[in-house]
């Protein structure tokens, strides 16, 4: 069972009925029968716990001002934040105990066809009333079966004279108000059960494995897609927005965002956004996919061999390390195993295809000052080329191909909001320990 955390701090409760079902919809339920059904619905609870329910005429001043459980049949919007929805759907609701005006109020949808033990096309008032009075006494919905506090209507529970609560419901009401004719309500502790103590505070050091994954670099692929940089690693990716902030510190699952990759995809080799139509190209092993937004287009994957990339020795390329569009000339560049190829996008037959430029492959060493076996490459900022390898990146300015000095920078710090490794101050020479050790972030 589940308790709402609220209960009446008294066991003598009053109840009243402020409106009855419309005779036109529920002709079989005269007001006297409604009162009788509701009386028995309350009795189901008072049979299990030391509760007393006293009926008040609805026109009495006490009922109007401060009765505990006030029943009404209303429809659609009725000023309590829980509008009804016509026949079917929601049937009723009740407010948990408390000191506010609406505590204990129980509303039935007057658009239902209410009955007592009627056919399947009607709704049994007794069954619903027992459930709602459970709420009015402090019980929440239960997923137990059997329990009258299950949220779904499951048909009449049977004869109101002989109805008894299921064990789950009996234990719930007894937890709140005690066992009838036995001891104080709630047993030893008269209050509602306490929640378990919270666990001791955890150290603030990041223990989440996603932290170290994010901050250790070694990305499978990096791509500039629509002005955001995606860092792919394993089955996940992180996403850095144009302003440099991360969409989330936690990684997202590739399979949940990029729809259409094979199940179990746990590594992508390279990704880039096509220039002419902004479609996104994924390379995984010897296949490639074309995505329209986040969904793979029909007909993919296709074999990488369609690109016609052969090594200098004439072998077909089996996988791609990196792919990007060089802002300097708008051409597509694919890298594999220390060599690269250049392509033009062609729109000949309506569909975009790639035409390989002659005189390729060439050696990656032409891109001077950067690693020759990079993880991936993107164009970013003012058309600069960013090369990523392990946890570092190198920037070749504008159309630069061979700069004198390219200083590597930290991917983790500059792109993924990781703390900078502590700088080790120059230690004074220690004659006893001539070789001082220093620890980096991994150490």
């Amino acid at each position: 069972y589940a308790l709402s955390g609220l209960k009446w701090h008294k066991t003598d409760l009053t109840w009243s009925v402020h409106s009855y079902p419309s005779p036109s919809l529920s002709p079989g339920l005269p007001n006297s029968l409604v009162d009788n059904i509701l009386t028995h619905a309350l009795k189901a609870w008072s049979d299990a716990a030391p509760l007393n329910f006293r009926w008040l005429p609805s026109d009495s001043r006490v009922a109007a001002a401060g009765g505990d459980i006030r029943v009404s049949f209303t429809s659609m919007f009725h000023d309590d934040g829980y509008p009804f929805d016509g026949q079917g759907g929601t049937l009723a609701h009740a407010f948990f105990p408390g000191r506010n005006d609406m505590a204990g109020d129980t509303h039935f949808d007057d658009d239902e066809i209410w009955s007592y033990g009627g056919s399947s096309s009607t709704t049994d008032l007794f069954t619903v009333a027992v459930h709602e009075f459970g709420h009015a006494l402090g019980l929440s919905h239960s997923s137990s079966d059997p329990s009258i506090m299950r949220p779904y209507y499951q048909g009449p529970v049977g004869d109101i004279q002989n109805f008894m609560l299921a064990l789950d419901d009996k234990q719930a009401i007894q937890q709140l108000y005690g066992v009838k004719d036995e001891g104080p309500p709630g047993g030893v502790d008269p209050e509602i059960p306490r929640l378990p103590s919270p666990p001791p505070p955890r150290p603030t050091q990041p223990s989440d494995p996603s932290f170290s994954e994010r901050c250790q670099g070694g990305f499978d692929a990096v791509a500039n897609i629509r002005g955001e940089v995606f860092f792919f690693k394993g089955a996940h990716f992180w996403r850095t927005k144009q302003d440099g902030s991360l969409v989330s510190l936690n990684p997202a699952q590739i399979k949940n965002f990029w729809i259409g990759l094979p199940p179990g995809t746990n590594k992508v080799d390279a990704v880039y956004e096509r220039k002419s139509d902004s479609k996104i190209i994924f390379f995984i092993g010897s296949q490639y996919w074309v995505f329209k937004d986040t969904v793979a287009m029909a007909g993919y994957p296709r074999p990488l061999s369609e690109w016609g990339m052969r090594t200098k020795s004439g072998a077909l390329v089996e996988s791609v390390d990196a792919a990007f569009i060089w802002a300097h000339n708008g051409k597509t560049y694919l890298f594999s195993n220390g060599e690269f190829w250049r392509f033009d996008e062609s729109h000949g037959s309506g569909e975009v295809t790639w035409l390989q430029a002659p005189d390729y492959p060439r050696s990656n060493s032409l891109w001077g000052g950067v690693p020759s076996h990079m993880d991936d490459v993107i164009t970013w900022g003012e058309g600069d080329s960013y090369f990523f390898k392990d946890n570092h990146y190198w920037v070749l300015k504008r159309g630069g191909l061979n700069q004198d000095v390219v200083t590597p920078k930290s991917i983790a710090v500059d792109w993924l909001r990781c703390p900078a490794p502590p700088t080790t101050p120059a230690a004074p020479a220690n004659p006893r320990h001539p070789k001082e050790c220093s620890c980096d972030i991994k150490g």
């Binding site: 829980y82 049937l91 997923s143 079966d145």
Partner: protein, 86 residues
């Protein structure tokens, strides 16, 4: 249409506490993973086969007449109710 069915299901899951209620002050997009998880919880709670997708059994349960109160009462929902009350 499947999209209608999907958005109605998200609305249902929010209403009964399986998804956080939409915040009128901020645009909050539910993730596919979050919705699948919510469907699983709803299926477990309702005693139907736990698949994480809107199968016929789940849709049938969602259209079963029921009590208006949420099944999962989270802190956000309680807070919202207290605010409305004030």
């Amino acid at each position: 249409a499947p999209t209608d069915q999907y958005s109605r299901a998200v609305d249902w899951l929010s209403r009964y506490g399986y998804l956080p209620p939409p915040d009128p002050r901020a645009s909050k997009l539910q993730t596919k993973e979050g919705i699948e998880k919510a469907i699983r919880v709803m299926q477990r709670y309702g005693g139907v086969h736990e698949t994480g997708v809107l199968d016929s059994e789940t849709l049938k349960l969602m259209s079963t007449p029921r009590c208006s109160l949420p099944d999962i009462v989270g802190s956000e929902d309680m807070l919202r109710r207290r605010r409305r009350k004030r």
